[in-house]
């Protein structure tokens, strides 16, 4: 087991190297001298002398050949010394430290919500297969699956938050849900712990729903397919034959058996979840990794962009790694190589 985990970890290192190289190459190819975009950024009126430019170039190692730059970048990424943002000179570590928890909170709640609804729905549809209910659920899931998240988010924003249709006059803004942010901008610090929690939940409800339903649709379909397959297996017939109740058969035997692949689906869903959170954060104006990345790309703020891309890639790889390890731990049949 340990050797499997070790090997699995080692095998994701080339992928990570590849991603950093890809990103580095992309940003290098963008402009031979990224500093020129920094000093000639829109809104800057001061002229920069060539000496100052040379100094800056030295500061950011831009006078070195590309492989030295790349190796230095790798060293910085490994030691988590990510440098400063070009925009405002803040430490990138601090910027990420603020944005990452927001994205994690958003994604974790979304995936949790998705699983909590999707698994029972899938089981129910599988048990009632081919019934009108099953067909109805299938249709609903299909519609959810085809519903673009940023459209759904915009609709929620327009109808629930704008105050034009659903009105809550007692709330600021007149809409029943906030227009942006993951907490109130004013007076959030003064709230009690309970008040803060309520405020965050109120702000995050619509974004979390918007982020969760695509995952919900695919998890639920997957659960249904897995359950249908399991329910035809011999051990289920045995369980029924020995007189177990249908409830015990479905939940204790079949669900347990088919839950495992459903859990590992998490690893596959993660990149899509982060990808979706970029859009959802943009719709609801939540300053998580996605929105910070969009701002950094518009600037352009290359050190920040490279850090965020690498960070999300590490998170994704970590997620699929954990899913694989969980699978190997839970399923005794999975053994890779010699123990």
């Amino acid at each position: 087991m340990r050797s499997y985990v070790l090997r699995r970890c080692l095998s994701s290192i080339p992928t990570l190297l590849g991603i950093t190289l890809l990103c580095f190459g992309l940003l290098r190819a963008a402009s031979a001298d990224p500093l020129l975009t920094k000093v000639s950024a829109p809104g800057r009126t001061t002229r920069v002398t060539s000496e100052a430019l040379a100094q800056l170039r030295q500061l950011y190692d831009l006078d070195q050949p590309w492989y030295v730059q790349y190796l230095k970048l790798l060293r910085r990424l490994v030691t988590l010394d990510l440098g400063t943002s070009w925009r405002d000179g803040r430490l990138i570590r601090d910027v990420l430290g603020e944005a990452l928890p927001v994205t994690l909170l958003l994604s974790a709640s979304a995936i949790l919500l998705a699983y909590v609804i999707a698994v029972p729905l899938g089981v129910y549809a599988a048990v009632r297969r081919e019934s009108p209910i099953d067909r109805g659920i299938s249709w609903l899931l299909f519609l959810l699956y085809s519903l673009p998240a940023f459209w759904f988010g915009s609709l929620l924003l327009s109808f629930l938050s704008s105050g034009q249709f659903l009105r809550c006059p007692s709330l600021p803004g007149g809409g029943c849900f906030p227009l942006q942010g993951w907490h109130s901008f004013q007076g959030f610090e003064q709230l009690s712990a309970w008040g803060k929690l309520r405020d965050v939940v109120w702000h995050m409800l619509l974004p979390v729903i918007t982020l969760s339903y695509p995952a919900l649709a695919s998890i639920s379909r997957f659960t249904r397919a897995g359950m249908l397959e399991t329910l035809q297996l011999d051990f289920i017939r045995t369980a029924r034959a020995k007189g177990l109740s249908e409830r015990a058969v479905v939940f204790n035997h079949a669900l347990r058996h088919s839950l495992l692949p459903v859990l590992t689906l998490l690893g596959l869903e993660l990149p899509q979840l982060v990808s979706g959170s970029v859009v959802v954060e943009a719709v609801f104006g939540i300053r998580g990794l996605g929105l910070v990345a969009l701002e950094a790309i518009r600037m352009p703020d290359y050190p920040l962009v490279i850090s965020i891309v690498t960070l999300t890639a590490v998170l994704t790889l970590l997620g699929s790694l954990l899913a694989d390890i969980a699978y190997a731990l839970l399923d005794p049949r999975v053994r890779y190589g010699k123990e």
Partner: protein, 337 residues
Amino acid sequence: MATLPDTRSTPRSLRRRVLRAGRARWALGVLSALLVTALGADLLASDLPLALRLDGELHVLPCLTRPAALRAFDNQRIAARLTTEDWALMPLSPWGQNTHDLGAMLSAPSAQHPLGTDRSGRDVLARVVHGTRISLSVGLASVLILSGIGLLVGMCAGYFGGLVDQLLMRLADCLHAVPTMLLLVTVLGVLRPTGAGAVLAMLCVIGAVRWTDLSRLVRAEVLRVRHSAYVEAARGLGLSSRQILLRHVLPNVLSPVLVAASFSMAGAVVLEGALSFLGFGVPDDVASWGSLLNEVREHTHAWWLAVFPGAAMFLSVSAYNLLGEALRDAIDPRLQM
């Protein structure tokens, strides 16, 4: 003697099996409607009439030919100038995709603008109609690109194996590990394309980034047929790798690719919308469903900007998905897609 069901995968029998599903027919209906809308966008919504007689001069289809004599005109000016001998055959929506009705900015649906206007007074109906073009062309072109790359990479990786396989699949892993949206905006942000290049860049980048799933699928299929008798026979006959890949392997992996391409089309349409929504897509003078939705972020009360373009996108995405499902069920229901 019991007759076996016809499971041959000839194009004709496949077509019959796909069409047997009512949903496929529905999907194809929607897709043809989209295609007609995209091709005839200039006839459905234009700032010039379909046919016109003005000052004794007859113009046929000025909305397409855009004659120099009418450069200073649009439907509203023409209507004001028509005399009793003149006549004009107006298109369904008398507004072009870039006609600014400055008297009615951000106006709700009305008789003049059945789907309302955007923040610079452009007719939403006209922009939704013209947006079909971008959606369809970006979707089709990017799916062609990603299918091409995915097929090439998957076939090489599966057939040659070894180091080639390792390298190609590692590359796919790298692309897969970075969230698509982030990768797309990074590349487009770096390229900073302008004007007409923006659409081209967008479809190329979507194609260049989204091929990984398809290549894995193709690779698995190639591994399945690589040791089959007919490939061994072809090898025994002394055919080159290229001939074997093109004549014997390719036809056998095409049908799952068709299914995957159909689902990819849905994905590409959403990506185009999302990129335009985020401001990394089409320039402002090109109508796109996504960029209409973009305006909702600032003008949240303008529900018509959210509802109609999004509904068009939802309709087309569900049609592509339905088609994919029908194809999958007809080809191989066990395909996990």
